[in-house]
Subunit: 372 residues, 4 copies
């Protein structure tokens, strides 16, 4: 297996998702982190680099400089991970794609539709690839679910119910909590719950079912007084072909940590999955006893087995699912023969940004039905 | 404890809910079933009476005759249970109330709003009482939840999510299944899923939280082709005071039997309950570990203890919850000193019928917001 | 269906299990409680009778007098329920059997082996029947499990694991708690946890698997200092045919209410059941996904359906399971054509008493292997 | 953080646990795998090295040669992971300790007590350290449990119940399954289920409770006909201070994958944990509602937080728990100021081997009580 050289923008001291990406990149041993612009403040950037074992000459405070310098080095990075607040994703991705460096970008792809379109246009001139990390798509039982829907095990899909409930924003954000402050600032986040977790739920529903959205109707709410972004959102979807989708995301649902669930109801059978207990997929055929399909077991399909590292009963978690996206990106970058139909890119990123935009439009227009 | 004499209308051979009411009436030994018009067909009515140990002279084929005859007997019934298809509830209740006989009626109170108003008007002239059996309100952990909300344990209520999912109508109804045929016939049922189970979910949300509905928006769907009533419904509620409610009921959600759940999110804490595992109530204060409050345990409140028959860990189920409603009706009829604030009557019945009516109006008007 | 006249010995004010038997007798409407010796203290006995609606002339303070008087009445009771402390079961049962009155007796059958043998001898001269209420055998999913083992669905049974964990005796018994005091008094109870709940676990294992015990080894412990009976017990069983059984019962296992579980492992498949969530049976074939078989569903066997009252998803509980034993006793007494292979009698009662005796012998002999 | 150079013995193509150790070593970025004797067959060894990106000059077929060569290199490995079948652990560990190279060794430490004693003696002359990977000790909720017991939250410990159930050996081992064949060969494994998983259960019970074993009684069985090692084992422990322990491990319990559970009952409260759902710890105080303490939540203790990588609700799994052991070994090797009281070494390894030996002795002597 080829081992790739990785850079990172964002993810310095005090950040959350940067650390996750670094572990995800390491788990399958396909990437070495060798460069980074870990913060826009130079002192913090270099301190982070030192902590992370990145050589001083490859620690940058400016992502544009980093893209240029790394592209110029013979031993320059193959790919860069973008783990900044959302409003910076677009410009950074453009800079690296322009430099011919592959981009692995956290979701949502951009904070605004304008940025998304600009990025897609910019990407046309690059032969580097863009990978979007909707990490929940990496769970083996999600791959199992996707395979089962594709195989027709559920019959025609009728109803899709995706929920993502959290409670960490149940009170006004503590100004000292960096995560909470940027995620509740419209300028940096581009949206509240709908962008932060709604995009995950929407993406997951589409990833598993393959259904295409015709129109949607959304109601975005700010439950906590004084909050300037939505913290609770309800979206109804009409899919092409007649199925309906329903998304509920909340960041004020006390007692929920990262309670992402997906239920898919077909004419013949249903599937149910919970992110907090991700190694099990419940499958029920009409009139039969529900079955508990577990990761790594004899009941798992090849699509699940392909992203399974350890035997049944030894739980894999969030980091392994995330690592699968890095693994598949490495395969794609290396030109591995294995086609990864599960890899998400610019098209998926654009759809996510359009989804947020459509939800915001619908919500401000009395929850009217709108197209993406 | 006074022991009361009970009659029944409906519930003959082949019926379902009649048998449930009879067991519920027996469990606490407060009623003896001594009369009935178990079917409109005389032969079937009398055969049922014989099976049920009801004396031939108190077996009727006509409910009006029964009301008259029983009112005339010195040992006539104290109360009658109405367990017919919905469209007959109103006329039957009127007849017995007019005869001065207490009525215990299955939900919804009537099939139409007209019937409901007629019944309420008719009831004004009677000194007999009307009891509505929204049986899920009888579960001890529902009483616990109600008490906790009233005590302020959750803080201000923000979001109420009630779901009632079934799968028994996932395919076109078998014409030989009596339950399925009348429940999917608009003339007899007055509605589909929204009337059959939506009223339960709506009632339960209000029962636990005490919230009053300002407006609602509903989308009723017929997922199974050719069905003339709704089999899947989504309702959003705006409550007085600012909380929102959300109801999803479905009869085509494969893998769900009677999966009624209620989640109540407040500013300080939340509650979660599942009808299929009803002896547990999950309570989570913001920032603390979720607690599993069980029926009969030291953590249960007096309101729950009052309707608990056996110690913790020995599950009580659906029939005991139902029996609690009969028990409380017996107390009320007997003029027991214990006031039963939990008893539901005409006002609650009217609200349920208005709820169905409002949902149907909203749904036909593009899910617009309507008042009850 | 014949309706039978029932008497009761024990179960007066302040008792627990008497109330359970009364509800169980009522649920299916097969018995009317018309007589009783509810306490040995006359005042308490008559006060209880009055509360329970039993006529004064059929309220007794002495069970022998009651047996005689009821046998002499033309409208005398058909059967008597015995719900006293264990050490009285034997003498009372003898008195009623001698009077030709059927006996429905709580477990264990007697407090000592001597009493058990005396009862069996006494019963030989009676044409009345003896019914033992190991109530957990009445759960539909236990009937399902029994049927599946009998059908060979599990292959040869290898290992049976039965556990019954409680925590209500985690501290020294409160002298004011009547339940706790008699159950921890060797003279009245005949044993501690091993008799109170161990017999249930042992009976259930045998009921489901049909296995016969060859030898057993037991360790009975008194975890709480100063307790004169066992409150925690471990028993190993060697069954005829080579399977092994393992029983753990405890009354000091904090966090357990009535956590009775049964696991049966065969060469081809396994079963797992929990009393606190009794409407589900987990069935797993080697190499396949576990299945959740639910009461009332299409996956349930006729043996389970026969004791099911209401549809799937509406939980039946402890009282319904108990009621099934009363129902089946009524059928047997009435000479119903339906043979009830599940009915337990003197032979089962004797085995339970021998089980306790053998455990006590083994435990005092360094847990040596002993026969029953 | 210092980054260490790691070698590995065993873990070539077709092995299972070697891959796990490699991921565990990578997750926190504290080790680089730079050398290995991945197999005793030279061709397989070098092929594995190539696959794993280990330079040809650091790929060895003989572990003694590897120890010598690596010790001689200036850039030689800091530590070696031993992931061979059990009977080779001892000799390999001796060779590397003699060469001054730290050892990270899979459990059990050795296949026999003789090997264990020899290793301990050999270790005396080395200043390198020995780390034993009882990986389940790395789960955050296990650290939480340990801290809670130490804090006295449970009161005096009374009963410890540890179970580890699997089903992968429910049938005679497939001769083509390398895992199954060496693990059921007494010469290579040194024991069956008792060594393979019994040592984990025993270690975990001691790790969490801190209790020391006085005597034990064991029954080892071979349920599958023709198997030459035990596949099901029951062990009772008497701990110093009066608590009892109970271990059940099985490899023929159909429907269990890696169902390791630990229950600890104290005089005041209890804890319950399941490896297959490891992010939750159930804690129940006598008379109060059970609490679900989750990893990463506000209810987690510092000992749990210290080994937590990501926020609550995003599950960490088996690989992260394993990685924690590597992380803590790296800290210890680097002389990090943080004392790691959780690190396991030779003493723990010896106790595990003594445990297996004592179980085997007890079992062959009619389950008599023996000391370790």
């Amino acid at each position: 297996m080829t081992r790739l050289k990785l850079g990172m923008v964002g993810g310095g001291q005090g950040a959350f998702i940067g650390g996750v990406h670094r572990i995800a990149a390491r788990i399958d041993g396909r990437f070495d982190l060798v460069a980074g612009a870990f913060a826009s403040d130079a002192a913090r950037a270099h301190a982070s680099a030192a902590e992370l074992g990145v050589a001083p000459d490859r620690s940058y405070a400016d992502f544009r400089e980093m893209a240029k310098a790394e592209a110029a080095r013979e031993d320059g990075i193959d790919a860069v991970s973008i783990v900044t607040p959302n409003h910076l994703h677009g410009p950074i991705a453009e800079a690296f794609l322009a430099a011919g460096i592959h981009v692995i970008c956290d979701k949502p792809m951009t904070a605004t539709l304008e940025q998304a379109n600009a990025l897609i246009k910019a990407a046309e001139g690059s032969n580097a690839s863009f990978f979007l990390t909707h990490n929940y798509t990496g769970y083996p039982m999600i791959r199992q679910a996707r395979q089962m829907v594709a195989n027709g095990d559920l019959g025609d899909i009728r109803i899709v119910q995706a929920q993502y409930l959290q409670d960490w924003l149940s009170e006004p954000a503590d100004p000292d909590n960096k995560q909470a402050t940027w995620r509740t600032d419209p300028a940096q986040a581009g949206g509240g719950a709908i962008g932060d977790i709604g995009t995950h739920a929407y993406n997951l529903a589409g990833f598993v079912t393959g259904l295409k959205t015709k129109v949607l109707s959304a109601t975005l709410s700010s439950v906590v007084a004084g909050r300037s972004v939505d913290d609770d959102a309800r979206v109804s979807l009409q899919y092409e072909g007649g199925a309906t989708g329903h998304i509920w995301v909340s960041q004020v649902a006390i007692g929920n940590e990262n309670n992402l669930t997906l239920a898919v109801y077909g004419a013949k059978a249903s599937l149910y999955w919970e992110q907090e207990n991700p190694n099990v997929l419940r499958f029920t055929k009409l009139g039969e006893a529900p079955q508990l399909i577990t990761r790594g077991s004899g009941a798992a399909h090849p699509a699940a087995e392909a992203v399974t590292r350890i035997p049944a009963g030894h739980p894999e978690g969030y980091l392994e699912a995330f690592a699968t996206l890095y693994h598949e990106a490495a395969d794609a970058i290396s030109g591995s023969a294995e086609a990864h139909s599960a890899v998400l890119g610019l098209k998926d990123g654009l759809e996510g940004v359009k989804f947020v935009d459509a939800c915001q439009r619908s919500s401000t227009e009395s929850s009217s039905w709108v197209t993406l």
